[in-house]
């Protein structure tokens, strides 16, 4: 039975109760305890720095050349905090409720409440670090409304909030590294988790410059390795973003939960050719003035400006008159895919829809529209060579954020004692869909304020353990497994690159476990994934060797893990006979095409246990109970 270890007491007292009663480690003992952190994004960097400040010995590992590259850097919009600086009726409860409702009531009340409760501290912390948030003339912080909520609780630093939050975290991490409290391992990748007597006790890592395989032991391991949206190949994620650390933990016994819940962002640039490596996100703000449409006629090849008004289908305005072009991300993404699948896609590859500023320019003038979106229009023109002032933009949905991840309890511990998962790597707070500007928040809250407290409760039992030796049979075995796998990659010597398999997998996932799913489609997807995986192990080609710089070898490892995770995602989507949040099952919709949730049967978190390579995973259910909030049905009509 899964136990989320939710503390006793009313919702607003749970975190307080926890902190009043959890065990502590005294400063002298902290020096005797080692902690490993994987990743330096907006949860890993804060966790490593904060644990260093507290006096633990911290080692932090990341594959990029410096900690400041982690993909949190790319978040644009902002970060939510219910400080109620605007006096518009915001408070912790509303923030909690909006998050829970946005997640379609598929997350834990207690975790979600804590997210809102701690949000204010994150802003204080960032400002103290020198993060230059937007300000009013009087010198106080500015806020905006984001993601369709009715209050202004989003703090922002132009369109680079993620960058500024991350650089704040990076700065405190650099300070701890300079002081010698944290040791940093850049260009390192975790290859295995080492479990001793059922506890996470270290990792096997590969030095990506020399190729050397290293053993690192610790009393606890924290995975802050981010989301796995890159499994779709084309996504808004960074090229190196991967699921490998999480997947290695899964293979060693950590359950994964809600893995098929993936948010697709509707306003990304479409794919222009087979060579394409990523889909750039264009801010959602564009939908405030742009009108989305496709030609009514299938395969209409005319230049968009030549298509008369009556032959255009402004499908979002038609289907959702109340919200129109501002319909939530999942609805906008799904509707776009429907149009594209119906043969009404536009552009050279027929894979996009128009986002048109013609009417807005007519109404407000090109100058005013330039003031609002000038930088985005420039970015669009830089990438596509086309000017949105002169012709409609072309946009399409792309994989963006994974709500699913490693199952964690209230303490953010996985089902392996001593192994924690924080930030996007865990499943916890967002339920089946994430509210805009809550991702930077969740990463920060986990890293700065939760895991540094909860880890003490666990490590207090380890103060007499002493250094964990690395010359044990468990380390031997883990290293052997890691090396054997690397050797396998370079010895197949087939004909196709890792990139080829990744692209094929992306296509399968987008088609069968993507924006909308059906039982039949998913079953087909599972078949195709298995075939592709078999082909991968037969025909992969990795040039070069193990003990040198070898990006192809790194890619092969990540793709191999994606090929397994893909099947788990498919099982998760197959099992859930309902539509909720970002998970839209075609069989479960209302007559109007709205998502049909099934609270009676599916009010649980699906937590999956690994049962062996290629075997059907085992489902464990964590029932969700709502004591404070009554789940309601979402409607955007």
């Amino acid at each position: 039975m899964l136990n989320a270890k939710i503390p006793e007491g009313p919702l607003e007292k749970k975190w307080k109760n926890y902190q009043e009663h959890c065990k502590l480690v005294n400063p002298a003992n902290k020096k005797k305890l080692d902690v490993i952190v994987i990743g330096t994004g907006l949860s890993g960097a804060p966790a490593a720095a904060t644990l260093g400040e507290l006096g633990y010995n911290v080692k932090v590992f990341f594959f990029q050349d410096t900690a400041r590259r982690a993909h949190s850097v790319a978040a644009q919009g902002g970060i939510n905090a219910s400080k109620n600086y605007q006096n518009d009726g915001d408070n912790v409860f509303r923030h909690f409720y909006d998050t829970l409702k946005g997640g379609d009531f598929r997350s834990r009340e207690a975790n979600t409440y804590r997210l809102a409760e701690i949000s204010a501290n994150v802003i204080d912390q960032a400002v103290a670090q020198g993060v230059p948030f937007a300000r009013e003339y009087g010198g106080v912080l500015a806020n905006r409304s984001f993601g369709g909520v009715q209050v202004k609780r989003t703090f922002y630093a132009q369109g680079q909030t993620g960058q500024q939050m991350l650089l704040g975290a990076y700065s405190v991490l650099m300070r701890q590294i300079g002081l010698g409290h944290v040791k940093s391992y850049n260009r390192h990748e975790m290859l295995e988790l080492v479990v001793i007597d059922g506890k996470a006790r270290g990792i096997i890592a590969r030095n990506l410059i020399t190729g050397e395989i290293e053993r690192h032991s610790a009393h606890a391991v924290i995975l802050a390795s981010g989301g796995y949206g890159k499994i779709y190949y084309l996504s808004t994620l960074a090229i190196g973003s991967n699921a490998s650390a999480a997947w290695k933990a899964h293979r060693k016994g950590a359950f994964m939960a809600g893995v098929s819940w993936v948010q697709f962002h509707p306003t990304c640039l479409p794919q222009s050719g087979d060579y394409q490596s990523k889909l750039t996100l264009m801010s959602e703000a564009l939908r405030n003035d742009g009108r989305i449409w496709v030609p009514k006629l299938k395969g209409d090849d005319r230049f968009p400006n030549d298509i008369p008004e009556e032959e255009r289908d402004y499908y979002l305005e038609r289907k959702y008159p109340a919200f129109g072009n501002l319909a939530p991300r999942d609805i906008a993404s799904r509707s776009a895919k429907e149009q594209i699948d119906a043969g009404k896609g536009v552009g050279p590859n027929k894979n996009a829809v128009y986002l048109d500023f013609r009417d807005a320019i007519k109404e407000y003038g090109a100058e005013e529209i330039g003031d609002r979106y000038g930088n985005l229009f420039r970015m669009y023109e830089k990438i596509t060579g086309m000017s949105p002032y002169k012709q409609p933009m072309m946009i399409s949905p792309a994989a963006h954020f994974t709500m699913g991840g490693l199952w964690v309890d209230y303490e953010l511990m996985t089902t392996i004692p001593g192994l924690y998962a924080i930030g996007e790597a865990n499943f916890s707070d967002h339920g089946a869909n994430r509210l805009g500007a809550n991702s930077l928040l969740q990463a920060s809250v986990d890293g700065y304020f939760i895991v540094p407290v909860t880890i003490g409760n666990y490590l207090s039992n380890d103060i007499r353990t002493g250094k964990i030796p690395t010359d044990t049979p468990e380390f031997d075995k883990a290293e052997e497994d890691a090396v054997e796998r690397l050797k396998k990659f370079v010895s197949i010597n087939g004909t196709k690159s890792a990139e080829y398999y990744h692209k094929q997998l992306g296509k399968i996932m987008f088609q069968h476990v993507g924006v909308s799913r059906s039982k039949k489609g998913i079953a087909k997807g599972i078949e195709l994934i298995k075939e592709l995986r078999e082909d991968f192990w037969q025909n992969l080609k990795v040039p070069g060797g193990i003990y040198e710089v070898n990006s192809e070898l790194e890619k092969a490892g990540r793709v191999a893990d994606f090929l397994e995770l893909a099947e788990l995602m498919a099982h998760d989507a197959y099992d859930r006979d309902e539509s909720c949040g970002a998970h839209f099952r075609e069989e479960y919709q209302t007559e109007d095409g709205e998502a049909l949730r099934n609270d009676e049967k599916y009010m649980y978190v699906s937590a999956w246990e690994y049962t062996g390579y290629g075997k059907v995973p085992k489902l464990h259910k964590e029932e969700l109970t709502f004591e404070v909030v009554k789940p309601s049905v979402r409607s955007y009509k």
Partner: protein, 249 residues
């Protein structure tokens, strides 16, 4: 379009490098420069050759991990762009393109086009922060900061740490990179307390890492993807001299 590439190949930091010539045909002008290199690597893998190593991550101009010297200029002939935001349409059909790593005395070539820029991290470790630990922050609005000051601090803080300024500079100076952080934190009241200590420590670290001196050619500002202004360098010099006058060194 068709292009001829002359790419810097270097086995590791200890080996000598050389240029290899590759021809690529039927490229789509809409592809980015890095996607063109992806195509080259795919071709090399099929020909049983070792692909070209280069760094990139976000590929949307914000993470700072990419960076190549293209035809002798960091990130190519467009001002204010990262390498990932350069597209093939900015080249002519039939062009010969020279591709090298970012060159600077403090950057070591790891392999081919990958360089070690960790010296930049060490400058940050010397003082690129405000010494505040988690949990000790006062309420965010307890310290009002003028809108213009906040925006100025943002302009300095926008640095992506890519190293373009250093690779562009004939002296391999890290002045623009270092001064941007010093200026950001000196502009904000939170950074006031450690102001003198910070500038002295960071400038000393910059020298210790082997970066050259700034001779005010302003080439860095011309190429910086984030358009960080050289006035940051003036501010750094002011802050340094001020610290010396106050006897803080």
């Amino acid at each position: 379009m068709n292009v001829t590439l002359k790419v810097w190949r270097q086995k590791d930091s200890k080996s000598k490098g050389h240029f290899e010539t590759y021809k690529l045909n039927d490229l789509n002008p809409d592809m980015s420069f890095l996607e063109m290199l992806d195509v080259l690597n795919e071709k090399l893998i099929h020909e049983d050759k070792i692909p070209v190593e280069f760094d990139s991550d976000c590929r949307e101009g914000i993470c700072g991990q990419c960076g190549l010297t293209i035809n002798g200029r960091p990130n190519g002939h467009h001002h204010h762009t990262t390498t990932c935001q350069m597209h093939m349409r900015h080249f002519e059909d039939g062009d010969t393109i020279l591709v090298e790593p970012l060159r600077a005395s403090a950057f070591t070539v790891i392999k081919d086009l990958k360089v070690d820029r960790s010296a930049m991290d060490r400058i940050m470790q010397a003082g690129g922060f405000i010494s505040v630990h988690t949990g000790s922050a006062p309420d965010a609005n307890s310290l009002p900061i003028g809108k213009m000051d906040a925006e100025d601090a943002f302009d300095s803080a926008a640095c992506i740490g890519c190293g373009t300024c250093i690779a562009t500079c004939k002296n391999s100076s890290a002045a623009l990179f270092t001064s941007a952080k010093i200026t950001q934190l000196a502009t904000l009241p939170q950074g006031e307390i450690e102001r003198e200590k910070r500038v002295v420590a960071m400038v000393d670290a910059m020298d210790a890492e082997g970066f050259g001196s700034c001779t005010n050619t302003e080439a860095c500002e011309m190429e910086c993807p984030q358009e960080i202004s050289v006035t940051n360098i003036a501010r750094m010099n002011f802050e340094y001299n001020r610290a010396l006058l106050l006897g803080k060194k």
